[in-house]
């Protein structure tokens, strides 16, 4: 059961020539749920960016979802991202089209072409986030929590091995946050790894899991608080 989805060894992460994190060693296994904590500017998002191929790997060795981050060609980045599900605050739904079209767009963009298979896949993921009836709505017609569920559904479309989530409960009320967290744990229990960056410590108390911390240019393993 220790199949590594993410394996980083001795990585230094730079952002415009400043060393942000050094000597990063991190392994995330299949089905694992990991919190990533640390102050703003501590390098959390740079670490996430490195994992999804937005920051080039210059020092160290990295493997993500079967891709080597060393010598990762720009052309390969889209294919790496298809193996990941990205749930970010900034990257909301495409506001100019309905929920169904949002999900269909992702399928089309990632190389699906059988219309009926695409539709049934869209229904499958909407079922997983309990939103089957909302497919024809526009994004702004949904509540914040519902939109976040759709974003999670979108991340699930290509059956990714790893979900990267950056403050997925950021603007949500506690109850909605809880339901999103339960959803993420469901996903992780179904065999996918989840790496979630957050500041919300009360949520972490409620849903305990392995925690890593970015601090002073290093990442460290936090002891389980539970």
């Amino acid at each position: 059961m220790s199949e590594a989805i993410v394996k980083l060894t001795g990585i230094n992460i730079y952002q415009s020539k400043n060393l942000i994190l050094s000597g990063v060693n991190l392994q995330i296994d299949k089905g694992e749920f990991v919190y990533l904590i640390g102050k703003t500017g501590s390098g959390k998002s740079s670490l996430l960016k490195m994992i999804y191929g937005d920051v080039e790997l210059v020092e160290g060795e990295g493997h993500v979802a079967g891709f080597s981050l060393n010598n990762l060609k720009k052309k390969q980045v889209p294919y790496l991202r298809r193996r990941l599900g990205i749930v970010f605050q900034d990257f909301q739904l495409l506001t100019d089209r309905s929920i169904n079209d949002n999900l269909l767009f992702v399928l089309k963009a990632t190389g699906w072409n059988d219309k009926s298979k695409m539709l049934s896949r869209v229904n499958e993921v909407l079922e997983k986030v309990h939103l089957t009836t909302k497919g024809f709505k526009m994004p702004h017609e949904l509540s914040g929590g519902e939109q976040q569920r759709v974003v999670i559904a979108r991340a699930l479309l290509n059956d990714p091995e790893l979900i990267l989530a950056d403050e997925p409960t950021g603007n949500l009320d506690p109850e909605t946050s809880d339901s999103i967290m339960r959803l993420l744990f469901e996903i992780s229990n179904s065999g996918r790894a989840v790496l979630m960056a957050t500041h919300n410590y009360s949520l972490m108390d409620k849903f305990p899991a392995r925690t890593i911390k970015c601090e002073n240019g290093k990442i460290t393993e936090e002891l389980q608080s539970a």
Partner: protein, 289 residues
């Protein structure tokens, strides 16, 4: 629901304004293109209106006049000629001065004359001088006149004007490209997050580009057609005011110009969009704000 409507409206109006600005720029370019196309024809037209007046001695018989006319008609430089009799000359003077003033005249002091129109290639100062001298040698001729200085000036000016137009053309073309480019870039700027989102879900660059380029193609076509309509309308309006303009219009050249405008519109729109989209495909997330 209202939000959707205003959103779509905003989107449509940004497309609308970019189409309008592209078509206006194309219209300006087309106008200039037309000017260049016609400049040569206009210059020929004006040059062929340079006229030589050959005043004849009085008391020439009709035979002598028509014999002289046939001699003139054989002259290679002459495009057309018109005989103006003493009476016609007087009538036109009367018309110019008003009836009152001519009442004083008992006799008709005006000579009969030939009005010669020349072919464009014979209107340079040198040839004109030679031709006038040649005609003056004839005994029947009292005087030959033409506007020497005007002809000289005109010949000089055409070169300066042609060069000026060309320079202006090049300048305007660069302004046009810059304007269209920035219009499209602004339109793309509003899509920067959309482009980034598409990248994050694993869409390839060419997949993201395709719909933008397709739309740019359609917009370029629209803009080109609008510019052509405007040009055609202007041409029609001018031709009702200036019927001479119709004579110098070359339909084939105009057709090529119109096709060129449409092609240019499509090319500019598609190429600018390509670079604008690429810019946002390359840029990092932090730089978007």
């Amino acid at each position: 629901m209202t939000e959707t409507n205003s959103g779509t409206k905003r989107l449509q109006s940004s497309y609308f304004s970019s189409i309008v600005s592209i078509s206006l720029v194309l219209f300006m370019l087309g106008l200039l293109g037309m000017l260049v196309l016609d400049a040569r024809k206009i210059s020929d037209y004006v040059k062929e209106h340079v006229q030589l007046n050959v005043f004849l001695n009085d008391e020439l018989s009709d035979q002598e006049i028509s014999a002289f006319q046939s001699i003139l008609e054989k002259e290679a430089a002459i495009k057309s000629l018109r005989f103006i009799s003493k009476q016609e000359a007087l009538d036109s003077l009367k018309k110019d001065l008003g009836t009152d003033a001519t009442g004083m005249l008992d006799i008709n002091p005006l000579p009969s004359s030939f009005e010669l129109k020349l072919k464009a290639e014979f209107t340079d100062a040198e040839t004109l001088k030679k031709l006038a001298a040649e005609i003056r040698e004839n005994k029947m001729v009292r005087e030959v006149t033409y506007q020497q200085t005007e002809v000289d000036k005109m010949n000089e000016n055409f070169q300066v004007i042609a060069f000026g137009i060309l320079l202006f053309c090049v300048l305007l073309f660069f302004v046009a490209v810059a304007l269209i480019n920035s219009t499209i870039r602004i339109a793309m700027y509003s899509k920067r997050f959309l482009i980034k989102s598409m990248q994050l879900v694993g869409a390839t660059k060419s997949f993201i580009r395709k719909p933008f380029l397709a739309r740019a193609l359609v917009h370029g076509l629209y803009a080109g057609f609008i510019a052509c309509l405007l040009l055609g309308g202007l041409l029609y309006l001018l031709s009702t005011k200036l019927p001479e303009l119709v004579q110098i219009q070359d339909l084939k050249a105009n057709g090529i110009l119109f096709a060129g405008i449409i092609v240019l519109g499509v090319l500019l729109s598609v190429i600018s969009t390509f670079f604008a989209v690429n810019r946002y495909l390359r840029v990092r997330v932090e730089e978007l704000y």
